[in-house]
């Protein structure tokens, strides 16, 4: 991208480069070319999210705009990278640099999975989320997972592996659970080096269905990970998620959950553990659009080095959504003098018979607690580790999938050892 004169120029140049890439390859890109062309028109006119946009005030995309990403090619992961997929029982769907890799993947039973082209679905809103427009324009592959009514699909391990080639990929997954179906989706984003991963996942949760979405993002130290998730939950359905963010140079996960039917529920728990000069942003918008819906969020941040953590959480309650129960807690531990936490919990409420609350705290490890442990002979480093683990446990506790939880705990422990 040619020498930009400021952040806006850099973003414009980056958007233009993506659009040029689209025009060069559009005839060979698979899937609905109409949806893609519409998205391309949006990217060409709207560009990428800029620093003046409220939703992006704490996450400047300039470093991303100044990097360059070639289109992804078919690649093979190293043995070391493959070994990072935890041993969890379930069907594996492996994507390497954004493309489905059938030899590394398993065969689903009792439900359908389609790959080879982007699973656009109909829940994403390219006109509103600029990175989703980018994804729609350039998406090449993805998984369409369809779980029939009343079926328990067990566990799917959806692994995205990045080989470290300086490429950009935009996977597009669509997950449909028919009435009463259940599924646990272990969503892994692992990689080495510098690249762009811009996935979009959409979840359609029908009446009484439950999807558990457990994500671990441990991308390469130079990677940009910008993901968007949409979940639409019908009557009595549940979208239950936990997102662990460890990796990436610049990472953002944006979740739009809409509770569309009575008694629908969404749990959006997360932990962000950052060090060095990492920047990670967890942004959620929960919309209560029906009566008696509930949302729960516990978000924990542990920041060291010169890292910056961002949390933006919005609970919207429509006029019709009486008896809404919305709760949100965001807490941050700053473990170094250079770390920064920015949070913006938001309530937007148009119904009167609701119970909504949010809380936020930012601080250091409690000196009294540290003293207590030290006075009982626990060495300082260990005492700190114990307190950080205890701090995170509230967000991890709701995870009932034993293997997934153990894998996350192991990833957290490894992060604690390697942190800068």
């Amino acid at each position: 991208m040619s020498a930009p004169s400021g952040p806006l120029a850099a973003l414009k140049a980056a958007a233009d480069a993506f659009v040029a890439d689209y025009h060069a390859r559009k005839t060979s890109l698979p899937g609905d070319s109409h949806v893609r062309a519409e998205a391309a028109a949006l990217v060409a006119t709207q560009g990428l999210p800029g620093p003046r946009e409220e939703a992006w005030r704490y996450t400047p995309l300039r470093p991303f705009a100044e990097a360059q990403f070639a289109p992804a090619r078919r690649a093979e992961p190293s043995a070391a990278l493959l070994a990072r997929i935890p041993a969890i029982a379930g069907t594996r769907l492996v994507f390497v640099d954004g493309r489905f890799h059938s030899e590394l993947s398993g065969v689903p039973e009792g439900y359908r999975v389609t790959t080879g082209e982007p699973a656009f679905g109909h829940l994403a809103r390219p006109a509103e989320e600029k990175l989703v427009a980018l994804n729609t324009m350039l998406a090449e592959d993805g998984a369409a997972i369809h779980v029939p009514a009343g079926t328990d699909a067990g566990t799917i391990i959806l692994a995205s592996l990045a080989t470290g080639a300086a490429v950009g990929f935009h996977p597009r997954h669509h997950i449909v659970l028919e009435a009463g179906a259940t599924l646990t989706l272990i969503d892994l984003a692992l990689g080495d080096g510098e690249y762009l991963s811009n996935p979009v996942l959409t979840f359609e949760v029908a009446a009484g269905a439950t999807v558990t979405h457990l994500r671990t993002q441990d991308e390469g130290a130079g990677a940009f990970h910008l993901s968007t998730v949409y979940a639409e939950v019908a009557e009595g359905g549940t979208y239950d998620s936990f997102a662990l963010t460890l990796g990436g140079k610049l990472a953002r996960m944006e979740v739009h959950a809409r509770l569309a039917g009575p008694n629908a529920a969404a749990h959006l728990n997360a932990a962000q553990l950052l060090g060095a000069s990492q920047h990670a942003d967890f942004t959620t918008i929960v919309r209560h659009d029906a009566p008696n819906t509930a949302s729960r969020q516990t978000v924990k941040n542990v920041l060291t080095g010169r890292s910056r953590g961002v949390f933006q959480g919005k609970i919207e309650v429509a006029r019709i959504a009486q008896k809404t129960d919305g709760y949100q807690m965001n807490q941050a531990l700053l473990l170094s003098p250079q770390a920064e936490m920015d949070s913006k919990p938001q309530l937007q409420i148009y119904a009167d018979d609701v119970k909504c609350s949010h809380g936020a705290t930012v601080g250091a490890l409690d000196a009294d607690q540290l003293f207590y442990l030290r006075s009982r002979g626990v060495p300082e480093a260990e005492a700190r580790a114990i307190l950080v683990r205890a701090f995170l446990s509230e967000a991890l506790d709701p995870i009932t999938h034993e293997e997934a939880r153990a894998a996350m705990e192991a990833a957290i422990a490894a992060w604690w050892e390697r942190r800068e």
């Binding site: 941050a332 700053l334 003098p337 009167d352 609701v354 909504c356 949010h358």
Partner: protein
Amino acid sequence: MPAVAETLETVQAATEGGYKWGFSTDIEMDMAPKGLNEDIIRLISARKNEPQWLLDWRLAAFAVWLKMDEPDWAMVNHPPIDYQDLHYYAAPKKKAGPKSLDEVDPELLRTYEKLGIPLKERAILAGVETPDDVMPQVAMDAVFDSVSVATTFKATLAKSGVIFCPISEAVQEHPELVRKYLGSVVPTSDNYFAALNSAVFTDGSFVYIPKGVRCPMELSTYFRINARNTGQFERTLIIAEEASHVSYLEGCTAPQRDENQLHAAVVELVAFDDATIKYSTVQNWYPGDSEGKGGIYNFVTKRGHCRGARSKISWTQVETGSAITWKYPSCVLQGDDSVGEFYSVAVTNNFQQADTGTKMIHIGKRTKSTIVSKGISAGRSNNTYRGLVRIDRRADGARNFTQCDSLLIGDQCGAHTVPYIESRNPTAKLEHEATTSKIAEDQLFYCRQRGLSEEDAVGLIVNGFCKDVLKELPMEFAVEAQKLLAVSLEGSVG
């Protein structure tokens, strides 16, 4: 609304020497033509006999304003404001003869009665007429549209070295102080409305508390907008020198008008070492009628600098009026161990919109801030708390506590909370809590079975909800504020 007549009375009493019962809205005005340009600014400056530096300052602000865009981030909606369709200067020429009380809108009188007149204005009146040796409770500077017409108790204050006068007078008599501090807290380029105010401000209050002085009385200003199609742009500047203390009360009213009137004030506070400024506001500008017609657009910039160590600035506000409120009284905590406080009650009913909150910027070490905000929405109104707490890298041991509660009355209104929390220091501790709920049926039932009407019951419960804020108000305002809450919520139940 309710205090309009009181204010008029007071103004008349103070300027004419005491027609206690009179009421007039027909006051001849000396008015600049509509429109905003450099000539109008020159005219305002000339009418006020201002020095060249101030005219230059205004013109520079105007140049900045021309290049700015009106902000659109607040959760408020209004038709575009035509800044050329306003009078930027209006001063009362002489008082018209009093008319009978029968001519007053009975609706107004009813509200007036509910508030339990006479309240403090009557006390002030009494104060004016008492001999010098009786210490009055409140000193008042009344701002009538653009010109401060009366300042009471100036002499008493002068004895202790306190300067309390219209800012236009301060420009003449204490130019060195005005020049030093004007715009030092809210620079002309700060925001759209602050730039506009800097260009066209007409009057306001100036307070200077010398070193070590505890201001002997509460200082009070009553702002009101009387003339049609006038914008009111007052500018208030309060300076508290080392180890001084002042409590300042601000009341705002405007008569009923069909059109929307613009109010864009700037308030600047400066507190040095160990000084304390307490700034209390009861704002009941005309909110528009029950159909959402008319009412004041209240776009205000209020900010205090705690420049000295251990200084303290405390904002308390009860906002019940205005069609639109857009205001964020803020504290910049520069001095080590300085303290910022914000206590707010914002009530919206009918079609009112309020987007209000505070900013606490922690720069000095061990700085502390407390935010308590209570928002009450009724009717078809929207009420937003918007606030920022920022902890700078150097602010070791800083502490913030924020509590934002919203109460919804009826299912056609909205309550919103938009806090920004930014921390860059690991030794700082921040806590934020927000809740939204409605009045519980059992609370209402309890009050009703003890014989309270539903409206009184709601008033009682709302007052309880707001207690943490109301107790911060000076005595003079507390009683009025409680009644104002009940009046504002009239018609919201049943």
